[in-house]
């Protein structure tokens, strides 16, 4: 019991430290002129994509199901914000509140079908639904702008780059705490129980499909919020947000960061984005070798650190203690 409280205290200290550093980070970056402004933008994107990765990990790491269609809900959130703000003159805070709700409804419809299937079949169906939504957005030119996307999403004047960064950080911290609460709750334990042994879960009286669907909807809602936040950052929504390749990003992030930990996917996502941009900054031609770098990185992780960066850290930490 003592061990548990001390490790949770360490978690709180780490969390608060990281949050404080992230809060004051833009003040320093602001001193660096144009480069600083660029990095504030990058950091905002990192925070948003970290939330996206964490949302997927509710299904992937905690639920034990691989969804190849998670970007659909990310995209639905982005288009919700773009459409509400551009066409219905919604204020940002209402549009950002609507994004997870609309995404949750989409996830409820898609999930209702998908949780009926297991393993690879579940994955393929999520992929199919994701691409279906992608095609709808792509083709419905009058409503979604087709492959042009929706540009010129308004930005409230008080939200300069730094203020928007802080808004995203606050939303991220709130979502992190909510996800943490869900994962540690009775519901979270039920989801882990289903992951560990679905057949046995039925025989202790768990209605497996119902909890898988609920989890799918919750994950979709957080993805929708992340999508809405990215839409406002870029001030546009585009079809690429729903594309299956966007679904792969949080999966890779979870693999690299460690899918059996809470913060792992967020860390993995940030590391990948940082590496990609860093390589770009080193030399423009490095953009072309990014796929190779990513491939090698994944190979190393899968072979030598299957629990991801968080698992690696824990192993080293444990060894140094004993």
């Amino acid at each position: 019991m003592d061990d548990m409280t001390s490790s949770s205290r360490a978690g709180w200290i780490t969390g608060i430290t990281v949050t404080v550093v992230l809060f004051i980070l833009p003040i320093f970056l602001g001193q660096l002129g144009k480069t600083g402004e660029y990095w504030i933008w990058v950091c905002t994107e990192m925070i948003i994509m970290a939330l996206f990765a964490m949302s997927l990990n509710l299904i992937l790491g905690f639920g034990g199901m691989v969804s190849f269609g998670h970007a659909a809900f990310f995209g639905v959130g982005a288009y919700t914000v773009a459409l509400l703000m551009k066409k219905a003159d919604f204020p940002l805070y209402l549009a950002l509140a609507a994004a997870p709700l609309v995404a949750a409804i989409a996830a409820a419809i898609v999930g209702w079908f998908c949780v009926r299937l297991l393993g690879l079949y579940f994955s393929i169906l999520t992929l199919a639904f994701g691409q279906l939504l992608y095609m709808i957005v792509f083709q419905w030119y009058t409503f979604t702008g087709g492959d042009d996307g929706l540009h010129g999403v308004p930005r409230p004047e008080i939200l300069g780059p730094v203020n928007y960064y802080w808004l995203c950080l606050i939303l991220f911290v709130i979502c992190f705490l909510i996800i943490r609460m869900i994962v540690n709750s009775s519901f979270g334990l039920s989801i882990k129980t289903i992951r560990e042994n679905m057949e046995r879960a039925k025989f202790i009286g768990i209605n497996v499909r119902r909890y898988q669907l609920l989890n799918f909807i919750i994950a979709g809602a957080f993805a929708g919020l992340a999508g809405g936040m990215l839409c406002e950052l870029n001030r546009f929504a585009q079809t690429e947000f729903l594309h299956w390749s966007k679904s792969a990003e949080p999966i890779l992030a979870s693999l690299v960061g460690g899918m059996y930990s809470l913060a792992g996917p967020a860390i993995g996502s940030s590391v990948l984005i940082f590496l990609k941009i860093f390589l770009q900054q080193v030399h423009r031609s490095m953009v072309e070798v990014w796929a190779i770098v990513l491939g090698v990185l994944l190979l190393v992780v899968v072979l030598f650190a299957p629990q991801g960066l968080v698992g690696l850290y824990q192993n080293i930490f444990k060894k140094s203690q004993s």
Binding site: I182, L189, R200, K202, I204, I206
Partner: protein
């Protein structure tokens, strides 16, 4: 005669044309500790799968406490008060021993939709969980990852999970399979003690005839797609049909 807790009526099942059961019927009395025996492939586990809803019979009824449960989902049947422990250890390996028991209690109490409180925040549930771990001898291993336990302990945990459902009827599929001789008798003593103390109706499948004839009040023999014989141990061990079909010369 008291009302049967479980009544199997004219049950038939076949897989792709191969008949496993042809018209089986029997009654399980409340409070009995009984064994099901039979040669490999006689369909003992299939029978448990039919009773617990994992499989649906082709024909026949399964009446549990006066209610036909054919076609119900396994998790609904569990909620009526029927639990099972499995032949192959069937636990939640990357969860602690305590988590295995607590989630079962939470599910019995319909608490799965709690989103706010930590799963381990209820003193009442934790106390109950430790009572169960105490009774299966695993209290000192509560914080161990259950998948790392020794085989015998995993089987005890499996039984503990079933007990946490506070069942009226408990089905045990070869509770001592794969155990060392000492572990076997320890587990048999455990099962018998639980049965004495908790007054749960227990039906178990077992191959070890010393155990079967040692502790059962009643033995049922599955063979030739049907219930070959049913009765107290001394009758079964003297039954000419059973000896020819299954027990062989040595008994």
């Amino acid at each position: 005669m008291s009302e049967a807790i479980l009544s199997i009526e004219n049950l038939s099942k076949s897989f792709e044309g191969n008949q496993v059961f042809n018209n089986i019927s029997f009654l399980v009395e409340p409070g009995e500790l009984s064994a099901i025996i039979g040669p490999n492939g006689a369909g003992k586990t299939t029978l448990f799968n039919l009773i617990t809803g994992a499989l649906v019979p082709d024909e026949g009824k399964i009446i549990f406490e006066g209610r036909n449960i054919v076609g119900m989902e396994p998790f609904d049947i569990v909620r009526l008060g029927m639990a099972r422990a499995f032949q192959r250890t069937n636990i939640f390996p990357r969860m602690t021993v305590l988590e295995n028991i607590v989630i079962t209690i939470i599910t019995r109490l319909k608490g799965n939709l709690g989103f706010v409180k930590h799963w381990n925040s209820s003193d009442r549930i934790r106390k109950k969980a430790f009572e169960i771990l105490e009774s299966v001898g695993l209290a000192d291993k509560a914080s161990h990852q259950s998948g790392t336990l020794a085989h015998g302990n995993q089987k005890r945990l499996d039984i503990g999970v079933a007990l946490a459902l506070e069942p009226k009827l408990l089905l045990l599929d070869e509770p001592v399979a794969g155990m060392s001789p000492e572990e076997r008798w320890e587990t048999v003593e455990l099962v018998k003690e639980l049965w004495n103390r908790m007054k749960i109706t227990m039906v178990y499948i077992e191959h070890d005839m010393d155990i079967v004839f040692g502790i059962s009040q009643k033995v049922r023999v599955l063979c030739y797609k049907t219930l070959l014989a049913e009765g107290p141990p001394h009758e079964i061990s003297a039954n000419q049909q059973v000896i020819e079909a299954y027990l062989g010369e040595e008994v």
